[in-house]
């Protein structure tokens, strides 16, 4: 059974206008997203800014209200929307944020930061709590003396690991990582990515990995969904997406990845030129008159793309 299943998720934000600030329009941040993540897998959500990838992640963890659709966790409705009722899955889903500088409260000690979720969900004595925090910090490779320090005393990579320690404190099943390394230096990035893979094996975690960096997505993920303006344009296994992209938008996105081989520059430029021409020429075939993607059509068991069918035109 899938660990997480999202069915036709829609998140619309109201736009207020006029003298009385009435709702005059709605922004369709997420407009009909379906995705399934198997336990132990890493699912990559890719898109440019404004594509709705972060909103999707935040809706899954209950930070954004859902307009319509269903989120099933282990086959059961997750139930964020119900009033006065705390979802029993609250513990099972945690989030790692983009900016390790602003996501940790600067006035709190590491002990308090990491133990915060424990205090919310588990009744522990202070001694037990301290021991648990030390264990968690050891798991993320920080020494146990660090518990009395403050966030500013750590480097970016260390802070991100503190964020991870906080996220794994309640032994979650699913971690939503929203651009977890994009504010870090390349070598520190490598450290955090390696570490995320290590704890995934160790704790049998499932990741929803949100990023705009296709190199990192390719490195980390088993399955990939590509979003554009709130809708999916293509989804499939990493291999299918990178080696056999079907949607013109995916092709254009992949073509934009910088190539590490400088001797291929001229060739790459010509390829890009071709893809751009194709994109401009065939845009109206791949997108509807509002510039939005069509519904996904299955191409194989795992691969589907928003290509209009012949009959549907």
């Amino acid at each position: 059974m899938a660990l997480l299943e999202v069915r036709d998720l829609k998140v619309y934000f109201p736009v207020y206008g006029g003298i009385f600030r009435r709702i005059v329009d709605r922004i369709k941040a997420v407009d009909g997203v379906n995705l399934t993540i198997e336990p132990g897998h890493t699912y990559g959500l890719v898109g440019e800014s404004g594509s709705g990838k972060t909103t999707t992640g935040r809706a899954i963890i209950g930070l954004n209200p859902i307009t319509s659709g269903q989120i099933l966790f282990q086959g059961e409705d997750i139930g964020w929307g119900m009033r006065g009722h705390q979802s029993r899955f609250r513990k099972d889903i945690q989030m790692i944020f983009q900016d390790p500088y602003s996501s940790l409260n600067p006035k709190k000690r590491i002990l308090d930061i990491v133990s915060e979720p424990l205090r919310n969900f588990e009744k522990l004595t202070p001694a037990e709590e301290k021991r648990r925090v030390q264990e968690l910090l050891a798991q993320v490779g920080l020494s146990s003396e660090t518990i009395y320090k403050y966030p500013h005393e750590f480097s970016g990579g260390q802070r991100q690991r503190i964020g991870i320690a906080r996220a794994i404190a309640l032994k979650p099943k699913l971690i939503i990582a929203d651009e977890p390394v994009s504010s870090l230096d390349v070598s520190v990035q490598a450290q955090v990515l390696n570490f995320m893979q290590d704890i995934q094996k160790e704790l049998h975690l499932t990741y929803l990995f949100i990023s705009h960096d296709l190199g990192i997505i390719r490195h980390m993920c088993d399955h990939i969904g590509i979003m554009y303006r709130g809708r999916y344009v293509e989804q499939g296994t990493t291999r299918e997406i990178f080696e056999n992209p079907q949607h013109i938008y995916t092709k254009r996105l992949l073509a934009a990845i910088p190539d590490l081989d400088p001797s291929q520059r001229g060739k790459r430029q010509r390829q890009r030129q071709l893809i751009y021409q194709e994109y401009d020429k065939e845009f109206s075939q791949y997108f509807d008159h509002d510039g939005l993607a069509y519904a996904l059509r299955p191409l194989s068991d795992t691969h589907s793309a928003a290509i209009p069918g012949r009959g549907q035109g």
Binding site: V186, A190, N194, Q197, M220, P258, D259, L260, P262
Partner: protein, 342 residues
């Protein structure tokens, strides 16, 4: 003719911290030629931005030693007034974060016009050589130029954007405005400090292509500062790798990407996730980049991060060694370097 546009000799830029001076840029030597892109690569704390700011004279508290020759004139010893005649005119800069680099209360048009206005006399001579009869100080002419610049950098509706404010534009559009400002007076030397870091990949590519096209049109020398080796591989003619305030390796792009020598360069390259889908481990450099106060000032600065390499492999006072024509590496440790798992 292989014109050297910029020659930096023994440049050190030091900052006072608690009454003591610490060099963020330490004894840097490099040259930039006309119609060339020199990339400076390094992580945060490497001193790459401090180097760019030193060239532009933007440091207010730093002490600068050494020479920065731009067409034979030493920028390091110029008076602010002399510097202001060059800045924004012959030498200009593109900043990393296009939102904070623009004045939030000024219209886009005003901000671009300002740089034209400040260097009016130059555009006047340029104009008279073209034989145009337009009057100097003409507001109308500046506006025309601004609209022209906006369309040059690929802004779809220049007339409309002219009257917009920075917060009304997307990140990519803002960066185009910043670029329009930087190229307004057709600079000979352009410094781009992480110009695409804040942008999406497809926008990044558009901006990089724009910079490349402008280089070809203006035959300018460009210093491209970045932490992204992919951007370097796409853009640079030559590359300087900086670590802890020093250049550790400098070479042509082809020689560097195919034959990197310095342990830091090699480590950096193997820490990038590349195409392999097998989830192999990425390379991690041990330890952390030391802060400015704690930089090792003697011996090889990268030594503490490759402790498995024996001490004898390092030079006492690391020098640049030419390993191939035009390819220099600091310290002798590169000869003995291997990754820990090799």
């Amino acid at each position: 003719m292989n014109e050297e546009l910029l020659t930096i000799e023994n440049l050190s830029t030091s900052f006072p911290i608690a009454g003591q001076l610490y060099a963020a840029v330490d004894d840097v030597n490099l040259t930039v030629k006309k119609n060339e892109i020199l990339a400076i690569v390094g992580e945060s704390g490497s001193g790459k931005s401090a180097l760019a700011f030193s060239i532009m004279g933007l440091h207010t508290r730093a002490q600068i030693q050494g020479h920065i020759y731009y067409k034979g004139q030493n920028l390091a010893t110029m008076s602010p007034a002399e510097l202001n005649r060059l800045r924004g005119n012959e030498v200009s800069m593109i900043f990393q974060d296009p939102l904070s680099a623009l004045n939030p209360l000024m219209m886009i048009g005003e901000q671009i016009e300002e740089v034209l206005l400040l260097h009016e006399s130059k555009s006047k001579t340029a104009r008279s050589s073209k034989g145009s009869g337009q009057t100097r100080h003409s507001k109308k002419f500046r506006k025309e130029q601004t609209l022209d610049l906006l369309s040059q950098v690929g802004i779809p509706r220049p007339e409309y954007t002219y009257g917009q404010y920075p917060h009304e534009l997307s990140g990519g559009m803002r960066q185009r405005v910043v670029i329009a400002m930087a190229i307004a007076n057709q600079p000979h030397l352009l410094i781009a400090d992480e110009p695409t870091t804040a942008l999406d990949v497809t926008i990044q590519l558009q901006i990089l292509e724009l910079i490349r096209r402008l280089k070809e049109q203006m035959e300018a020398g460009i210093i491209l500062i970045t932490h992204d080796l992919g951007v370097v591989a796409e853009m640079a003619d030559r590359v300087a790798v900086m670590y802890a305030g020093q250049i550790v390796e400098i070479s042509s792009i082809h020689s560097l990407m195919s034959n990197a020598k310095h342990p830091y360069t090699r480590s950096l390259m193997s820490s990038i996730p590349t195409g392999n889908e097998k989830k192999t481990k990425l390379h991690v450099i041990q330890g952390v980049v030391p802060s400015l106060q704690h930089l090792p000032r003697q011996g090889c600065r990268f030594r503490s991060r490759i402790p498995w390499i024996e001490e004898a492999a390092h030079e006492a006072d690391p020098q640049m060694h030419e390993v191939e024509p035009g390819h220099y590496v600091r310290c002798t440790c590169y000869k003995h370097f291997h990754f820990l798992d090799e």
